[in-house]
């Protein structure tokens, strides 16, 4: 099966999981040409490996997006303006 699958894919012009993975960053951001993106979408639709991997990849990005707010030190801006004032930058 392992040997036949790559050959079959080539005949059917289907991308491999590895190829889809290589362009995953562009795929999730919709940066690929429409025909390439279509080929990948079709592959992912019936490939459980890619589907699950893509899910985790997108999940990672979502977790990162959710991570922006961290506690800022008290008076961060005021301290900085004070620092710059002492050095003659701001009034």
């Amino acid at each position: 099966m392992r040997l036949v699958a790559p050959l079959m894919r080539k005949m059917m012009d289907e991308p491999s999981c590895q190829e889809v993975n290589q362009f995953l960053a562009d795929y999730v951001e919709d940066n690929l040409d429409a025909d390439v993106s279509d080929r990948y979408r079709k592959h992912v639709a019936h490939c459980d490996c890619c589907k699950a991997y893509l899910d985790q990849y997108q999940g990672t990005i979502d977790l990162l997006h959710d991570c922006r707010n961290c506690d800022l030190p008290d008076d961060l801006v005021e301290h900085t303006l004070e620092f710059l004032k002492e050095r003659g930058v701001t009034a």
Binding site: P6, L24, T60, L63, L72, P73, T80, L84
Partner: protein, 194 residues
Amino acid sequence: MSQPGDPLDVDALLAGDATAFEQLVRQESPRLFRVINRVVNDEDEAESLMQETFLQAYQRLDTFRRESKFTTWLYAIGINLARGSLRKSKRLSPLDEAAVERMQPDFSGGMYVDQAESWNPHRLAELSQRRELVHQAIAQLPDDYRAIVTLRDIEELPTDEVARILEISNGAARVRLHRARQALRKLLDSHIRP
């Protein structure tokens, strides 16, 4: 009176206008602090590096060439100062380049060697320490990977702007970002799917 989110008055900035510079500080301090802090993992050091970033930007205003956004130029100064600080302190990240390489998926005949399993959304939602988990995972990555994930995926700056800040090509930025996300995926997977 300017409001946060107002576009910067670059002409006034370049003319050395103190009010414009104060607006820049008010507008960019939180984000610049977050970015530097992710790279150096030390709040006190991050605050002092951020202040130094604004000072250096002010002293080098005449070197800004308008080939990029003003903030891109500012963040490049900040990232370089953060890197310099790490070099000086000789603090090493827990993971090196070889470890990041090992966390990339393996393929055989174009197919995944290990099949991933989708994360259970309920388990993900229940995970109370999600942010802490992500924070710790990022902290393990080598500096260059921490920087790109922070700029692109946490602060959500466009990839071409991120590439300019890090002074690398768009292609190199995409590759590094992809490798960083794949390493993080691997680190998170072991906690999310025990």
